[in-house]
Symmetry: D2
Subunit: 337 residues, 4 copies
């Protein structure tokens, strides 16, 4: 049993605790902490034997904690991840790795200084069965070299705290990581085109067309529509030299009625990606329990996503093509994204 | 942690042990036994703290075993299930519940005598996401009352020990249980029509058209093709008064290449139903751990499947319509299938 | 310009006249007649130069008529087709060829006596692009020898004059002809299974499961649902030894809205098969204009459909398997159906 | 019978002659001409009663010609269309209307001077059943206001005379017209993004991402891949405020074999759009025969396509956003595109 301490027992933290308690194998939650200590205590009450710590640092230091899951507020991620590295403990950090490029860079440098990988970042699309099947086709060479990719990221609606820049930093950031992983290349420039606004989007600039250039010259277009009402719909098609490969339409049922053949679309991201979250954490647990480094998104991936995301925000504000400049990739992350 | 003893450590038993050890939550395997004691020992070596018992009866009696999973050879199921009932322990029995109608009846009577449900039978289609979505549409009334169902059960090939009758007893038995559950009604008669034989089927009579009549008058046709080479393909469409609902084509990826838009078909039953097996066992574990009776397929369902299966074999041999007569359903199983 | 005389200017006759006047090439309607002479005159008023005849026999004798299209009431088909054969003129006769087996046999014998093919019967599914693509796959051998076929024939509703037997004689008769053509074999026996009735069907026995046995042993099941409300839906899947081939879902548009991905289903048979009617008549015109015999459904096909249809009605009334016995096939029709 | 003279009897001219002779109703070809008079004579030999003219001007002047179809080399279009306008005869001109913006403008001005519409340009996508169904959904308001459109235009390969600019002028020009018609708005700016090249494309810059801005702010992206080998594939999805609508995948047949469920993709543009060509010309014939003006793509549409196409070529050469400036739209073309 891998003994996990969870920092941050808000919505996402509670969801990961539920997952580690009721869904996954080989893991138990032995310690929790939260800036709101009452929430932490309430969560711990349902976890037999779990300890409540007064701070993330105390939790990290707890000898009854083998590895740490960070689900706290974004601006606190850096300090907890650095503390885990300092303690030599494996840490799964929900996205973003940190909220600034500099903070991400400090984490990368700390991990490089430590000498082996301790950090995994929570980009879960890499664990989705459809994306994995898509990548397997691309990697097989069956469609020739990949040259373009068309993506759509559609939300039925967004919460009230969603801001103009969130379209990049919260929404498109998933495509940023996915595209780097799918192509095995870094993103070198971005553009944002701004169509006329949906009446559903209030003050937001919604939808957007987000354009990515990759190091090898491939171009990716991403439609971002976050108030499209009809459902949560994630689509992607890689265009190769000889053919294309696209995410399936994985509907469990087809209904013929009222003049139509219809398939349900997922209502929200939970319905669409719940299994990816399960697989993501199970694979992390299994790799940690086996003593190996994590094989999922690394601190480098978190750093690169942050830099590209910043460029996307600049492109959204400024208009034209914005280049992306990354620090040299340390040998620790020599495997392509 | 629910402590499970596994009787039978052959292929299916080992798969369920892997599942309970590496995939599911809240469970540990604490005891195993097998007619081949060496196999049982080898399996136990990979399970820290697990005990090897010399007999199923010893395992059932073990106070370190909360509940039992029976994966042994079919003809032994009756004795172990009866022993579990006698011991008052919950038991998950792989299909078939028992190999004769009389044996199934004895189990039903023993459980009724015990007074509460202790037995679940391993019909896993009820746990498949597509079948569940299909049943949800049917139950919603959106397509009106269900009147017919069209099914296909296609295997790329079958093992050498597969016999003529296996088309009913091993293959169609899944549809027998699924249809009873989908319609919430018993099957009252069956027919088997025999088309000309596939060159791929050797001495088998393959394919078959299996026809089921339900108590309320609905008619179900099932194509059984067990050497169809192209893949493992399970299909079903319920025809209602106002529309139809069908299992989706849940392909994760769509590839355009070589003049075609193509989606992969599952290669075998593992690929198609592995998640259903996971969900089946997790839900059984959760219900047992919560102290409640199991909510999955009951001893009655196992009994009914056996009687219908016998009728199917008679129809295959004899030709025409064969009626199905069940004993009166005890109040313990008053909920529809 | 092929000069056509049309016997019967009711709904179907007017539709064929519209087709020959406004849609097809190389044809003009030069003569019409109808039991209701006023209707015939009104139709002729819109056809410059068209003659109105007092009887079908007069129209057939008209030297300004190269070939005849028969769209009159079914019981009159025999007399007009026989008159065309006697006159040595090509005739396209809407289905049915005649209303009794004996009448169909008399037509076959007359045509055989004449010595070359003059008769084509209006089974238009053979001209539908989807059925043709399906037959091309079957004939290619890509799915191995065909062993079974699953069909559904669904109407949203039927007119008030539709009777119990119409499910076979008006509806399933299309599948009867299509299946003979698809497999290139005669039908040797039929069965009808009767599920519980739809509340939408009034006194009709709706739906039905119609089962066909072919000479080579293949078995075909046809769901007939004529009050299913949601649309007009024609489906078919041929099951071969190594794979299957099915009619596509040829929807022109896919709409994502309201939680669903939906494709429209045709509202009625016109929408579904209007192109097949166009192609059917154009190919007939082209073959006649080229001086050759017609290549579409023959008098033999019309005769065979009548015999199988009679057997279907007997099976619907009586219950069990009804054999089909055809007269020996004359050499004139030696090509498979 | 509408009497048509055809200028240009090359590949496209011969195809339209075949169409008017063997497929469409209410039309005959009474005169032909070609720069290669021998070709014209050979074509005329198969057309009973057709006259061969020594020049397009003679053909236009022929009193036995009611209307003209121009299929000659692009640079000659202007002179023949102007001559038709001068003669007051309806003319169907294959795309492009003319090869320069100025020439198109002269045609527009001549037609405006004439006072009523005489010119239709051969953009046939507006006649495709799938595009029409797509536009009907957009116009219905079911998906809210249209904000974006995603298109792909894929060719398996291109002929040897295809040049770098052809990607815009020959290929994307179809999307240019289609998008104006779909949105009912003019295009105001274009961009071309250049991904890394396919190994299949030789010296061509293939593929491209062509981006269009519409007057109302909508943005359209068009993937242009002209050597993608797998087939001819035209795709389009309009993104609205509340949902999306896309061209269907209109495959006639679905084949299950070899581990896949596969649908054929059209091999070339003929297979995909042959019906659209038929409908296009039949509707033009019907509107001319009825004495009305043509309702299809106008001289204005041809002019606008030329200007946008020029901008696209400039964007391909130069790199960045290129604005589109049209002359004021004359009242003759007041209806939106």
């Amino acid at each position: 049993m891998l003994r996990i301490g969870v920092i941050g027992t808000g919505m996402i933290g509670q969801d990961h605790i539920r997952r580690m308690t009721s869904v996954l194998a080989g893991v138990e939650v032995t310690a929790v902490t939260d800036v709101d200590v009452e929430t932490a205590k309430r969560v711990a009450d349902a976890l037999p034997g779990a300890v409540v710590h007064g701070s993330g640092e105390d939790l990290i230091a707890d000898p009854g904690v083998d590895a740490v899951v960070v689900c706290s507020w974004g601006p606190t991620h850096e300090q907890y991840v650095l503390a885990c590295i300092a303690a030599g403990k494996q840490v799964f950090c929900e996205k973003p790795l940190a909220t600034t490029e500099e903070a991400c860079r400090r984490i990368v440098e700390a991990e490089v200084g430590h000498g082996r990988r301790l950090v995994q970042v929570g980009y879960m699309r890499r664990y989705d069965a459809a994306y994995r099947a898509l990548k397997a086709v691309v990697d097989s060479g069956r469609i020739g070299a990949p040259l373009m990719m068309h993506c759509a990221h559609r939300n039925p609606g967004v919460p009230s705290y969603y801001e103009k820049e969130s379209a990049i930093t919260d929404t498109a950031v998933h495509e940023i990581d996915m595209v780097r992983w799918m192509f095995g290349e870094e993103i070198v420039a971005v553009r944002v085109l701004v169509p006329r606004k949906s009446r559903n989007g209030g003050d937001l600039q919604d939808p957007l067309l987000f354009l990515l250039e990759l190091a090898g010259g491939a171009i990716v277009d991403v439609e971002i529509s976050v108030n499209i009402r009809y459902g949560y719909d994630i689509r992607g098609e890689v265009v190769g030299e000889d053919g294309t490969a696209a995410l399936g339409e994985p509907s469990p049922v087809m209904v013929r009625g009222g003049g139509r053949l219809a398939m349900p679309v997922p209502a929200d991201w939970r319905e669409r990606f719940i299994r990816a979250y399960d697989v993501e954490l199970q694979e992390w647990i299994d790799s940690i329990a086996a003593g190996g480094p994590p094989v999922g998104p690394s601190a480098w991936d978190g750093y690169a996503a942050a830099v590209v995301s910043d460029a996307g925000v600049a492109a959204l504000r400024g208009g034209d093509r914005v280049g992306v400049t990354l620090m040299p990739r340390p040998a620790l992350y020599e495997v392509a994204p």
